[in-house]
Symmetry: C2
Subunit: 137 residues, 2 copies
Amino acid sequence: MSCEKTLKEKQFRLTPQRQMIIDILHMNSDHLSAEDIINYVQGHLPSVDKSTIYRNLDLLLKIGCVYKSESPDGTIYHHADEGHHHHLVCSKCNRTIDCEEDVFSSVRKMLKEKYGFQLDSKHIVLTGRCANCKDSR
Amino acid sequence: MSCEKTLKEKQFRLTPQRQMIIDILHMNSDHLSAEDIINYVQGHLPSVDKSTIYRNLDLLLKIGCVYKSESPDGTIYHHADEGHHHHLVCSKCNRTIDCEEDVFSSVRKMLKEKYGFQLDSKHIVLTGRCANCKDSR
DNA sequence: TTTCATGCAAATGATTTGCATAGTC
DNA sequence: GACTATGCAAATCATTTGCATGAAA
């Protein structure tokens, strides 16, 4: 369901600032830092304050339109409606590799059976060493 | 290899503050926040400053004695010599569940084959919904 | 003795909050 | 018109840095 609809349903107003935030989250399928979002929104509506953006990201998070996660480079946000964004982050060079869903099917099943834990369907981040950094200290 | 030995080898001094940090990292197999470590160290050596602890955690990180990772509650540290500390974090209630290594064997293999990516052996954090929160929004 | 490590205080950077005003429904 | 959302400025929180002093090797 669209963010716009969800906002209305929950009695929140669809302001231009909110629209702008939703737009960039939609446009950019990759991860966005708060700073990225601030830059984009201020590029279109220069007078928008950071605090408004943080407040709205929190709101969108609360109503489930947005996901947020921690990467080695800080907090990142992405739209909840999009497909999966699984990532492999290299702890040496910080490179981020996109990763397909299929590798997770067995963990998914085992986690559910063993711990009753339902693994995130949209966004998994794993750390380790990429092919280039495999052997270096 | 022990942290103490590694420090000496790399020409760093083994100060009481460093010893204290190493001690608590050893004692506590679970994850520790910077704050936890500060509290412990200051409980024994009250005059130790936060900055000293941050500086030393960075040092121990650099020489590979300590691992650091991001959880929804902030940055956490743990000793590098200990066994694995895999965790399942519930994105609803923030509960953390310890998780065994065995569930990862197939992802580990597939990530290596498909992406040349070597998954962390000691510390994996996955997010999702715990059994209690499974169905709630 | 020489150099590294520490404590202190101040700086930083990201995020949060209080409050009066402006904008949406 | 009522009530929410915003901009602004100041507060907060964790972490970092500069610098003079103190303590390991």
